[in-house]
Symmetry: C2
DNA sequence: CGTGTCATGTAATCAGTTACATGATTCA
DNA sequence: TGAATCATGTAACTGATTACATGACACG
């Protein structure tokens, strides 16, 4: 089991850079960890409550005018410790489920055009992603130059870059392979 | 939503090569799609029942001596159609959750040795995986040479190869980056 | 006047894992 | 004698998504 029951840590992590409301946390994850970690409100708010009941965070209601009151959460001592401990624990392997590979695995049961379609779609998607990563990388380097956390942020971006590039190479290679299969079958 | 509610299709897919019991299906997925799709008994058996009640598969109880009776499922016409339709549908993007990246993202909050540890572990893991893939590739090519589905099976293996190689490159690069950070901080 | 932002939350639902339960047979 | 294989299933639990509900203000 991995990536399960870990929502708490993404929240504690975001709070480690200062107190935030649930709404703020959502915003932050959307603009920073979005491409490898997402949270929904339906999970976020109940989890914050649970964390508070466990003493890992503490909250304060901030009355506001003109806009809804906000409940601001901050990390407690035990919360910070729990987070640090989790950081050092080995990463658990996640159960994999890849729908694209499942479809390709059974690709012989459909016209070749079907598999080609899936591969072309993923190819296009990786090109998009690579563009996005490049943009974020430039933005980070200019906006947060010298920030002590920058090297770590760039590392997660580099992951995305390598990953997308690999899928790009793989899909091109596979499309070429498909063309051969189609030729032999006289399909297409 | 992706890779969710898709268990049914992995089952239908496996059944498309002939009737099988729940136990057989588990075995087959373990030896073929294991590295991108896993099923647990707790999910498999109830799903088979559901598929039967929907008319996508039909079952027959086979009494056996010396060993437990088995219930053998086979694909029905509607089942085969449902599977083919799903094959052609575009792959949905899955919500991503990557614990390793989450830990690295917050890496500045722990000693550098922590991040190094995570990277070294994943590096070692990819080396193992690459070995496994190579072995399976050789086995497939010799054992199933000429099989019409072989090109598709090899495609999924190639995915694994590209993916692992990318993570390998990325982790090496990141470890080098970490060494620089450590130097500047005088840590290590 | 409609859309987007700010802001919090609940309820219904879903998918899936883990652990448990049973029990004969075969093999080392 | 103990473990592995064959074989099917249920129950408890967990984690998370989606949709729903509310409501003021700002901006074009």
């Amino acid at each position: 089991m991995s990536e399960r029951g870990k929502s708490r840590y993404s929240i504690l992590g975001v709070l480690s850079s200062g107190p935030k409301s649930g709404y703020d946390i959502k915003k932050m994850t959307e603009s920073s960890t979005a491409h490898f970690w997402a949270e929904s409100y339906g999970n976020l708010y109940p989890t914050l409550r649970r964390l508070e009941s466990e003493g890992l965070v503490a909250s304060q209601l901030l009355p506001q005018e003109g806009r809804p009151d906000k409940r601001v959460y901050r990390l407690t001592g035990p919360g910070r410790n729990a987070f640090r401990e989790w950081l050092a624990e080995p990463v658990e392997e996640a159960p994999v489920r890849n729908e694209l590979l499942l479809k390709l695995f059974f690709g012989a049961q459909a016209p070749i055009a079907v598999s080609r379609y899936h591969l072309e779609r993923i190819r296009a998607r990786q090109l998009e992603l690579l563009e996005t990563y490049r943009g974020v990388e430039r933005w980070l380097a200019s906006e947060h130059a010298g920030h002590p956390e920058l090297p770590f942020w760039l590392m997660t971006l580099a992951y995305g870059r390598h990953h997308s590039q690999a899928l790009l190479d793989w899909s091109s290679e596979s499309l070429a392979g498909l063309a051969n299969v189609a030729e032999q079958k006289g399909e297409d």
